[in-house]
Amino acid sequence: MTDSNDESLVSSRRGFLVGVAGFATLTLAPGVMLYARAETAGAAKAAKVRWGMLVDASQCEPGCNDCVTACNTEFGLVSHGRPTTDPQWIRKVTVTDPGSGRSQTFPVMCQHCADPPCVDVCPTNASFRREDGIVLINRHICVGCRYCEMACPYKARNFVHENITDQKVYAPRGKGTSEACTMCVHRVDAGGIPACVEACSKGRVAMLFGDLNDPNSAIAKRIAAYNTTQIRSDLRTDPGVRYQGL
């Protein structure tokens, strides 16, 4: 007798709670769903990879601009005839030792730091580092304040100054936001390699892309065998892009 009574009480209470929960689902739905999906997707990608690049400066030819051209083609970066504000995600840098007069040239792009200053300063959390080490900008929430551009020691970030039309499907860009090298995240997610690395492999191979955390990858073996450096390693940003022969 008591048992059945208890049961009915419990079940009616449960019915009430289910009703309340149902209402909560309806009203909270937009935000809640967003989180739920994002969480599962993150769990699928939790394998510890860190994508990185190795640039062999001794192999980089002074007159060659292939990596820059490939990047511009890949992302539809076109000049508007105003060089100071034209987009530039990767650039060729020439350094000369004033003592010996030895000159070197190599590409510099977003260094995809493990501890990126751009992420530290971003007021809206638009600047972020993915699980796999790629530093990106969520331009849906970027307000174009340009703090990241000032914070970056590598001058890797750009501001979009012009109205843009006919964007690539995989690379939406718009006026008033910050942008930078994405390490061709759309190619990497599909199992490919970045456009600049692909372009560089046509002549002398100066660029190498791979998983820094996988000891069997070509890039990890090279880094283990040769003396490589990170630009401005004194800042302890731990860039994912390393240089050989600097």
Partner: protein, 375 residues
Amino acid sequence: MFYIAASILILGLLARVAVWVKRRREIQPRRGDSQGAFGVVLDLVLFRGKFFDDRVSWIFSILFHYGLMCIVLRHLRYAIEPEWVGPLWRLVIIAQPVGLYGGLLLIAGVAGFWARRLLAPSVRATSTLGDHAMLALLLAIPVVGYFNAWVHTDLIAVKQFFLGLVSSKWQPLPADPLLLLHLWLAAALMMALPFSKLLHLGGVFEPLPEGGASRSNLRRIARWGVAALVGVTLLVPAATGALQVAADGWTQTQPDFAKLARAHKAADPTVMIRNHPNFLMNYRAVVVYHGVRQEGDNIEKCVTCHVVKGADGQPVGFENPKHFCRDCHNKAAVSIDCFECHNSNPTAAPKTTSIDPRQRLAVNTADVAEGSAAR
């Protein structure tokens, strides 16, 4: 339902104004506290009389009335088609954020009035149940309205419903419980308004208060009538809603977005019409943060299938008013900035080309529309 509500509102208003005008003729001279045209403007715009009379009430009054103005401007989008007003439609678009935040002033004003009614002893002593009921109604309408804005409904269908009421070409109303509740409460307010003291809108016609026992008795009866009316209008949907929930549980949950992306061509168009913002926001988080990229996850894919061809046979971009997304968003005055960054043109030859989902909806619901209950 709305016809009844509107006729009660209009007839009630007319009757009351007629009574006032008649009384005013009997009681001369007219009220003299406004000095000239400027004084009338001060009274009407800044509620000068109230300012010197009751400062607290004046603050809530300003909040309420200007909040109400903002929110009414926001609702203009349901009453006007962009083609009717031409470039003035810009103003309706600007009114959207104004109304969205201005509505909070309205809620603050009503909440303040109610707090005053409960906390100030002198006001509390003279409050009737009708006063509280009206405040409850005034608070419930915007609160439910905000929930509506949050969970989304099919704005174009709502607009077609109301324009259909005016032109007596009846259209079905989306069967979202929150939307129906909002409209039900609004109708209740329309019916209660002529009998309540909220109707000081026509106050310029009102004679000076002369007091008198018979009149205050009449007023008390009217207030109780209002309380009963509001009570019934609040209880009926609540009771039916509770019964419905008890009967079949709450069935309105979010769809599975992945399934929706693959199968929305075959699914009920209303599901996608209602959920596409959540759908896009969800995928943008998944793609940007977790790199889960699948065919059809991007907005470019949407505009590739939902292509609209211009006069020259070429797909039109977002700058063209006929663009698939822009057409509806413009009619509903909902801003859309996706295409400041994303390409609004098809980026590939679509495998299938979609027809306008509203056309499909019209085919599906043509027979249902005849006997729809919600009017």
